[in-house]
């Protein structure tokens, strides 16, 4: 696998930045092809994938719980007076649930996940690269791409949908807290309204796109870490650029996937 080298230095010109932009795009493309080439080759390193999934789950559980609760609370708090103005307070549970299931839950979880995990993978692999640990693996006739990259990318792709479903549930519960502060609504009625409003067709595209987001977080972090150069400065650069690129790609792919969903299943829209 031949990857383009980036230009680093104290004074970079505009052409260097443009060159680096295209180097990243072409490098990521090659990296993606390599991933699919290696992903199904034995050994599958199942134990390593499970280990990473455990770590990622524990690492992000706290932060996504708080985020989910706050999303639901704030969304309900903001929407409640507006809906009341139009005499549509009864639609509040449905509106909170639909917003969270279709868009906010998956996207915000993915962005938090990118901040926490993509940077972590970028820093970890980057540090392994600059301290020659990846070279050590290679000279021991062990495929570092398979062991370090493929396992992490599969783990992020599998764990993000689970976290997103969890965040959706927490956010809907958070919405209920905001509702009972403002008006007297019992929990059973709130949940019934949520279930009436959210159809299966709302749920599937929302959660399905998180597989893509999880993959983006893993592959970008791994690419930046695996190709890091320039000592500790390079590790820092790998970590920060991983977050920036993966967050940006999540938003771009969200836009594309929403459009594709609406085009394929107009009734869902």
């Amino acid at each position: 696998m031949k990857l383009p080298r980036h230009r680093y230095g104290r004074r970079l010109s505009y052409t260097d930045y443009i060159y680096n932009f295209f180097a990243t795009i072409s490098g990521l493309t090659v990296f993606n092809f390599e991933f699919f080439k290696q992903a199904f080759k034995p050994p599958l390193e199942i134990a390593e994938i499970k280990k990473h999934m455990d770590e990622l789950g524990v690492k992000t559980f706290g932060i996504v719980s708080i985020t989910g609760l706050i999303i639901g609370l704030v969304l309900a708090m903001q929407s409640q007076p507006v809906l009341q103005r139009f005499g549509a307070s009864d639609f509040l549970p449905g509106m909170v649930a639909l917003s969270v299931v279709r868009e906010l839950g998956p996207v915000i979880t993915a962005l938090i996940f990118a901040g926490r995990v993509s940077s972590g993978i970028g820093a970890e692999l980057g540090s392994m690269r600059v301290t020659e640990q990846i070279d050590a693996m290679e000279v021991s006739a062990i495929n570092p791409f398979k062991f370090l990259v493929v396992t992490r990318v599969i783990a992020t792709t599998m764990i993000l949908p689970i976290l997103s479903v969890y965040v959706i549930v927490i956010a809907i519960i958070g919405g209920y807290f905001a509702v009972i502060i403002a008006e007297n609504m019992n929990f059973q009625y709130y949940i019934d309204s949520v279930i009436r409003a959210v159809q299966f067709g709302d749920f599937i595209p929302g959660v399905a796109k998180t597989f893509v987001f999880g993959y983006i977080v893993g592959i970008v972090g791994a690419y930046k870490g695996f190709t890091a150069e320039g000592g500790t400065e390079g590790v820092g650069r790998a970590s920060t650029t991983s977050v920036v690129i993966s967050s940006l790609l999540i938003l771009i792919f969200d836009m594309i996937l929403v459009k594709i969903t609406l085009w394929l299943w107009p009734t869902i829209g």
Binding site: P43, M128, E132, Q133, D135, A136, V139, S140, A141, I142
Partner: protein, 253 residues
């Protein structure tokens, strides 16, 4: 004697852009021989090792390991050759997220899937005994001193019973006593396991203990080849200066 050649480098040239690091280097290392590669920092000693192990591709020239031209090998066949080679990195390159036991068993498990966990554990403990660090088996690399890291790095390299060992500055950053101990350990292991070794260093004490033969790299070429005695007794003013003021020249003090 041709069968005796473990490593053969023919007219190796390595360039990075305009910069020529190695130019038409040719050398042969025979079975069970210890070759020391001397040279000032930045003279391409580590690049030579990385070309031999296939981490870098030569710009020109050929490298044969056991008569196989490694530049023509597929990655699968190159890995077969690498299974017989140990490499000790300058910074030891221990896997940070693994304990010493996991560092040692990681390669062994993958290279010898027929071994059960008891056999792997026995081999790990036995190899750690060779480097006198059996007590460190459950330690993380961050808990080890520089000298201990080198020993564990050495243990990790020899656990696969390599035929050829490549050492990149094995004593750099160590105090003189630890440096001597590591050099003695390398020599003992080489004799015990009958390995062929290439040692990149600018530590004269280390070279005096280990070397059967030495080469000196200067200006991208081999400036000298012979025994350590011949090297240190040379009339060449540069070599005399290097060996008599080695530390002063390296630090610039």
């Amino acid at each position: 004697m041709a069968n005796d050649r473990v490593v053969e480098v023919k007219e190796l040239t390595k360039r990075f852009g305009e910069l020529t690091i190695l130019e038409k280097i040719s050398l042969v290392v025979h079975r069970a021989e210890n070759l020391v590669v001397f040279g000032r920092s930045g003279q391409g000693k580590s690049v030579l090792l990385k070309c031999i192990i296939g981490l870098m591709n030569p710009t020109e020239g050929k490298i044969f390991i056991n008569r196989e031209d490694i530049s023509k090998l597929s990655i699968k066949n190159l890995n077969k050759v690498r299974k017989n080679i140990g490499f000790l990195f300058q910074g030891s390159a221990l896997y940070d997220s693994m304990t010493v036991r996991e560092n040692l068993s990681f390669t062994l498990k993958r290279h010898s899937p027929q071994l059960n966990s008891k056999e792997i554990e026995d081999k790990v403990v036995q190899t750690l005994h060779l480097v006198s660090l059996a007590d460190a088996v459950d330690k993380m690399p961050s808990e080890l001193s520089g000298g201990m890291k080198k020993r564990i790095g050495l243990a990790r390299s020899i656990i696969i019973d390599p035929e050829l060992m490549l050492y990149d500055e094995p004593t750099t950053g160590l105090d003189p006593i630890s440096s001597k101990e590591i050099s003695q350990l390398i020599l003992n292991l080489q004799k015990k396991l009958n390995m062929t070794s290439i040692i990149v260093t600018h530590d004269l004490i280390c070279a005096e203990i280990i070397a059967d033969r030495a080469i000196f790299l200067k200006d991208a070429k081999i400036a000298f080849e012979g025994s350590i005695q011949e090297l240190t007794d040379s009339d060449n003013s540069f070599l005399r200066n290097f060996f008599s003021h080695e530390i002063i020249k390296e630090t610039g003090v």
